[in-house]
Amino acid sequence: MTQSPAKKVSQVALLATLALIFSYVEMLIPYSVGIPGIKLGIANIVVLIALYTYDFKTAFSVNIIRILMAGLLFNGFFGAIYALSGGILSLLVMYLLKKTDKFSIVGVSMCGAVFHNLGQLTVAAMIVQSPKLFLYFPVLLFSGIITGILMGIICHTIYSHIPSRYLTR
Protein backbone atom coordinates (compact mmCIF):
# COMPACT_ATOMS: atom_id res chain seq x y z
CA MET A 1 0.00 0.00 0.00
CA THR A 2 2.13 2.83 -1.24
CA GLN A 3 0.59 6.14 -1.95
CA SER A 4 1.73 9.70 -2.04
CA PRO A 5 1.33 11.77 1.11
CA ALA A 6 -0.45 14.39 -0.97
CA LYS A 7 -3.11 11.90 -1.96
CA LYS A 8 -3.55 10.83 1.64
CA VAL A 9 -3.84 14.41 2.85
CA SER A 10 -6.44 15.30 0.27
CA GLN A 11 -8.43 12.14 1.04
CA VAL A 12 -8.54 12.97 4.72
CA ALA A 13 -9.31 16.62 4.00
CA LEU A 14 -12.20 15.72 1.70
CA LEU A 15 -13.67 13.25 4.15
CA ALA A 16 -13.24 15.64 7.08
CA THR A 17 -14.99 18.38 5.11
CA LEU A 18 -17.84 16.04 4.29
CA ALA A 19 -18.11 14.99 7.93
CA LEU A 20 -18.14 18.63 9.02
CA ILE A 21 -20.95 19.39 6.58
CA PHE A 22 -22.83 16.42 8.01
CA SER A 23 -22.33 17.84 11.51
CA TYR A 24 -23.82 21.09 10.28
CA VAL A 25 -26.75 19.35 8.59
CA GLU A 26 -27.37 17.50 11.81
CA MET A 27 -27.68 20.82 13.63
CA LEU A 28 -30.21 22.03 11.08
CA ILE A 29 -32.56 19.11 11.60
CA PRO A 30 -35.18 20.26 14.06
CA TYR A 31 -35.83 17.35 16.29
CA SER A 32 -36.05 17.82 19.99
CA VAL A 33 -36.88 14.93 22.21
CA GLY A 34 -36.36 16.93 25.37
CA ILE A 35 -33.36 14.95 26.56
CA PRO A 36 -29.92 16.42 25.95
CA GLY A 37 -27.43 14.15 24.27
CA ILE A 38 -29.75 12.39 21.86
CA LYS A 39 -28.83 12.96 18.27
CA LEU A 40 -28.72 11.07 15.02
CA GLY A 41 -24.97 11.13 14.54
CA ILE A 42 -25.02 11.40 10.76
CA ALA A 43 -21.40 12.60 10.77
CA ASN A 44 -20.53 9.13 11.94
CA ILE A 45 -21.56 7.85 8.50
CA VAL A 46 -18.49 9.51 7.00
CA VAL A 47 -16.21 8.19 9.74
CA LEU A 48 -17.56 4.68 9.37
CA ILE A 49 -17.23 4.74 5.59
CA ALA A 50 -13.67 6.03 6.02
CA LEU A 51 -12.97 3.14 8.38
CA TYR A 52 -14.30 0.62 5.89
CA THR A 53 -12.90 2.03 2.66
CA TYR A 54 -9.55 3.19 4.01
CA ASP A 55 -8.10 2.37 7.41
CA PHE A 56 -8.21 3.22 11.09
CA LYS A 57 -5.71 6.06 10.75
CA THR A 58 -7.77 7.79 8.09
CA ALA A 59 -11.00 7.41 10.03
CA PHE A 60 -9.30 8.64 13.21
CA SER A 61 -7.87 11.73 11.52
CA VAL A 62 -11.20 12.51 9.88
CA ASN A 63 -13.01 12.17 13.18
CA ILE A 64 -10.58 14.33 15.16
CA ILE A 65 -10.52 17.07 12.53
CA ARG A 66 -14.31 16.99 12.28
CA ILE A 67 -14.80 17.27 16.03
CA LEU A 68 -12.24 20.03 16.53
CA MET A 69 -13.62 22.06 13.62
CA ALA A 70 -17.22 21.54 14.72
CA GLY A 71 -16.14 22.56 18.21
CA LEU A 72 -14.58 25.76 16.91
CA LEU A 73 -17.51 26.54 14.65
CA PHE A 74 -20.65 25.45 16.50
CA ASN A 75 -20.31 23.67 19.78
CA GLY A 76 -17.71 25.59 21.75
CA PHE A 77 -14.82 24.29 23.79
CA PHE A 78 -16.75 22.05 26.15
CA GLY A 79 -18.85 20.65 23.37
CA ALA A 80 -15.61 19.63 21.68
CA ILE A 81 -14.34 17.90 24.83
CA TYR A 82 -17.54 15.88 25.19
CA ALA A 83 -17.55 15.05 21.52
CA LEU A 84 -13.87 14.13 21.52
CA SER A 85 -14.25 11.64 24.35
CA GLY A 86 -17.28 10.07 22.73
CA GLY A 87 -15.74 10.13 19.27
CA ILE A 88 -12.45 8.48 20.24
CA LEU A 89 -14.08 5.77 22.37
CA SER A 90 -16.67 5.04 19.72
CA LEU A 91 -14.10 4.81 16.93
CA LEU A 92 -11.90 2.46 18.97
CA VAL A 93 -14.86 0.18 19.65
CA MET A 94 -15.92 0.26 16.01
CA TYR A 95 -12.39 -0.52 14.87
CA LEU A 96 -12.08 -3.49 17.21
CA LEU A 97 -15.49 -4.84 16.21
CA LYS A 98 -14.67 -4.47 12.54
CA LYS A 99 -11.37 -6.26 13.07
CA THR A 100 -13.12 -9.35 14.44
CA ASP A 101 -14.91 -9.57 11.08
CA LYS A 102 -17.90 -11.12 12.79
CA PHE A 103 -20.20 -8.12 12.64
CA SER A 104 -21.82 -6.29 9.77
CA ILE A 105 -21.47 -2.55 9.35
CA VAL A 106 -24.86 -2.16 11.05
CA GLY A 107 -23.71 -3.91 14.22
CA VAL A 108 -20.48 -1.93 14.23
CA SER A 109 -22.40 1.32 13.83
CA MET A 110 -24.82 0.38 16.60
CA CYS A 111 -22.03 -0.31 19.08
CA GLY A 112 -20.20 2.81 17.98
CA ALA A 113 -23.24 4.96 18.75
CA VAL A 114 -23.77 3.37 22.16
CA PHE A 115 -20.13 3.84 23.15
CA HIS A 116 -20.14 7.38 21.81
CA ASN A 117 -22.93 8.19 24.24
CA LEU A 118 -21.19 6.30 27.03
CA GLY A 119 -17.93 8.20 26.51
CA GLN A 120 -19.68 11.55 26.52
CA LEU A 121 -21.65 10.67 29.60
CA THR A 122 -18.53 9.58 31.48
CA VAL A 123 -16.70 12.81 30.72
CA ALA A 124 -19.80 14.85 31.54
CA ALA A 125 -20.13 13.07 34.89
CA MET A 126 -16.44 13.72 35.57
CA ILE A 127 -16.71 17.41 34.73
CA VAL A 128 -19.88 17.98 36.72
CA GLN A 129 -18.56 15.70 39.47
CA SER A 130 -21.91 14.03 39.85
CA PRO A 131 -22.47 10.32 39.29
CA LYS A 132 -26.15 11.18 39.14
CA LEU A 133 -25.67 11.88 35.45
CA PHE A 134 -25.55 8.14 34.90
CA LEU A 135 -29.30 8.16 35.43
CA TYR A 136 -29.33 9.18 31.78
CA PHE A 137 -27.42 6.06 30.81
CA PRO A 138 -30.39 3.83 29.90
CA VAL A 139 -31.96 6.58 27.82
CA LEU A 140 -28.71 7.21 25.97
CA LEU A 141 -28.10 3.50 25.54
CA PHE A 142 -31.45 2.83 23.91
CA SER A 143 -31.26 5.95 21.78
CA GLY A 144 -27.75 4.90 20.75
CA ILE A 145 -29.01 1.49 19.68
CA ILE A 146 -31.76 3.01 17.56
CA THR A 147 -29.75 5.80 15.90
CA GLY A 148 -26.75 3.48 15.51
CA ILE A 149 -28.80 0.91 13.62
CA LEU A 150 -30.36 3.63 11.44
CA MET A 151 -26.97 5.10 10.55
CA GLY A 152 -25.60 1.59 10.04
CA ILE A 153 -28.29 0.81 7.49
CA ILE A 154 -27.46 4.05 5.66
CA CYS A 155 -23.76 3.15 5.77
CA HIS A 156 -24.48 -0.30 4.40
CA THR A 157 -26.50 1.19 1.55
CA ILE A 158 -23.83 3.76 0.72
CA TYR A 159 -20.99 1.30 1.03
CA SER A 160 -22.59 -1.23 -1.27
CA HIS A 161 -23.08 1.49 -3.89
CA ILE A 162 -19.49 2.67 -3.95
CA PRO A 163 -17.93 1.28 -7.14
CA SER A 164 -15.21 -1.18 -6.31
CA ARG A 165 -12.57 0.82 -8.18
CA TYR A 166 -12.87 3.51 -5.50
CA LEU A 167 -12.37 0.99 -2.74
CA THR A 168 -8.71 0.45 -3.56
CA ARG A 169 -6.42 2.00 -1.09
Binding site: I35, K102, F103, S104, V106, G107, M110, C111, V114, K132, F134, L135, Y136, F137, P138, V139, L141, F142, I145, I149, I153, H156
Partner: protein, 119 residues
Protein backbone atom coordinates in the same frame (compact mmCIF):
# COMPACT_ATOMS: atom_id res chain seq x y z
CA UNK B 1 -27.24 -6.64 5.95
CA UNK B 2 -27.54 -8.12 9.45
CA UNK B 3 -25.35 -10.93 10.65
CA UNK B 4 -26.04 -13.37 13.44
CA UNK B 5 -23.42 -11.71 15.59
CA UNK B 6 -25.21 -8.37 15.15
CA UNK B 7 -28.42 -9.77 16.58
CA UNK B 8 -26.43 -11.25 19.45
CA UNK B 9 -24.79 -7.89 20.08
CA UNK B 10 -28.16 -6.16 19.97
CA UNK B 11 -29.57 -8.61 22.50
CA UNK B 12 -26.61 -8.00 24.84
CA UNK B 13 -27.06 -4.25 24.60
CA UNK B 14 -30.79 -4.56 25.19
CA UNK B 15 -30.24 -6.69 28.29
CA UNK B 16 -27.64 -4.21 29.60
CA UNK B 17 -30.10 -1.42 28.90
CA UNK B 18 -32.92 -3.11 30.75
CA UNK B 19 -30.66 -3.89 33.69
CA UNK B 20 -29.51 -0.28 33.77
CA UNK B 21 -33.11 0.92 33.59
CA UNK B 22 -34.01 -1.35 36.47
CA UNK B 23 -31.05 -0.17 38.55
CA UNK B 24 -31.74 3.47 37.83
CA UNK B 25 -35.42 3.25 38.62
CA UNK B 26 -34.76 1.50 41.91
CA UNK B 27 -31.65 3.37 42.97
CA UNK B 28 -32.00 7.08 43.24
CA UNK B 29 -34.81 9.17 44.57
CA UNK B 30 -34.84 12.74 43.47
CA UNK B 31 -37.36 14.54 45.63
CA UNK B 32 -40.41 16.26 44.27
CA UNK B 33 -41.17 18.84 46.93
CA UNK B 34 -39.52 21.16 49.37
CA UNK B 35 -40.83 21.36 52.90
CA UNK B 36 -39.92 24.43 54.89
CA UNK B 37 -40.50 24.48 58.60
CA UNK B 38 -39.72 27.06 61.24
CA UNK B 39 -39.13 25.92 64.82
CA UNK B 40 -40.83 22.62 64.01
CA UNK B 41 -43.89 24.25 62.47
CA UNK B 42 -44.50 23.61 58.79
CA UNK B 43 -44.27 26.92 56.99
CA UNK B 44 -45.10 25.60 53.55
CA UNK B 45 -44.47 22.93 50.90
CA UNK B 46 -43.34 23.88 47.43
CA UNK B 47 -42.82 21.96 44.23
CA UNK B 48 -39.26 21.46 43.07
CA UNK B 49 -40.52 21.65 39.52
CA UNK B 50 -41.14 25.37 39.33
CA UNK B 51 -38.52 28.00 39.96
CA UNK B 52 -39.42 30.49 42.65
CA UNK B 53 -38.08 32.50 45.51
CA UNK B 54 -39.56 32.19 48.99
CA UNK B 55 -38.95 34.92 51.49
CA UNK B 56 -39.50 34.18 55.15
CA UNK B 57 -39.71 37.09 57.52
CA UNK B 58 -41.24 35.57 60.59
CA UNK B 59 -40.11 36.07 64.18
CA UNK B 60 -38.15 39.12 63.02
CA UNK B 61 -35.77 36.86 61.16
CA UNK B 62 -35.10 36.87 57.46
CA UNK B 63 -34.42 33.93 55.16
CA UNK B 64 -34.58 33.78 51.41
CA UNK B 65 -34.92 30.36 49.75
CA UNK B 66 -34.58 29.85 46.04
CA UNK B 67 -35.90 26.90 44.02
CA UNK B 68 -34.11 26.74 40.71
CA UNK B 69 -33.72 23.95 38.14
CA UNK B 70 -35.04 21.35 40.54
CA UNK B 71 -32.61 22.29 43.30
CA UNK B 72 -33.09 24.31 46.46
CA UNK B 73 -30.70 26.58 48.24
CA UNK B 74 -30.71 29.35 50.79
CA UNK B 75 -29.77 32.47 48.90
CA UNK B 76 -29.77 34.84 51.83
CA UNK B 77 -30.30 34.93 55.57
CA UNK B 78 -29.73 37.36 58.40
CA UNK B 79 -28.25 34.74 60.71
CA UNK B 80 -24.74 35.45 61.96
CA UNK B 81 -22.83 32.40 60.75
CA UNK B 82 -24.40 31.95 57.27
CA UNK B 83 -23.84 28.20 57.34
CA UNK B 84 -27.14 27.72 55.57
CA UNK B 85 -26.25 30.13 52.76
CA UNK B 86 -22.94 28.39 52.16
CA UNK B 87 -24.63 24.99 51.91
CA UNK B 88 -24.63 23.60 48.36
CA UNK B 89 -28.01 23.17 46.59
CA UNK B 90 -29.95 20.02 47.47
CA UNK B 91 -32.31 17.89 45.38
CA UNK B 92 -32.55 14.35 46.81
CA UNK B 93 -35.10 13.04 49.28
CA UNK B 94 -33.76 13.23 52.80
CA UNK B 95 -31.31 16.04 52.17
CA UNK B 96 -31.78 19.20 54.17
CA UNK B 97 -30.43 22.65 54.83
CA UNK B 98 -30.71 24.04 58.33
CA UNK B 99 -30.45 27.58 59.54
CA UNK B 100 -30.07 26.98 63.25
CA UNK B 101 -30.09 30.57 64.54
CA UNK B 102 -33.39 31.26 62.74
CA UNK B 103 -34.71 27.71 63.35
CA UNK B 104 -35.46 27.30 59.67
CA UNK B 105 -35.34 23.81 58.18
CA UNK B 106 -35.55 23.06 54.47
CA UNK B 107 -36.18 19.43 53.61
CA UNK B 108 -36.61 17.56 50.36
CA UNK B 109 -39.63 15.31 50.46
CA UNK B 110 -41.56 13.18 47.97
CA UNK B 111 -40.75 9.50 48.02
CA UNK B 112 -41.64 8.94 44.40
CA UNK B 113 -38.91 7.04 42.69
CA UNK B 114 -37.07 8.68 39.89
CA UNK B 115 -38.54 7.48 36.65
CA UNK B 116 -36.24 7.42 33.67
CA UNK B 117 -39.11 7.09 31.23
CA UNK B 118 -41.30 9.91 32.53
CA UNK B 119 -38.39 12.28 32.80
Amino acid sequence: MFKKADIFLLLILLVVGMLATYLVSSADDLGTHVKISIAGEVYGTYSLGEDRTITISKHENYNEIVIKNGKVFMSDADCPNKVCVKHSPIDSTGESIVCLPNKVLIEIVGGEKYDAVSS
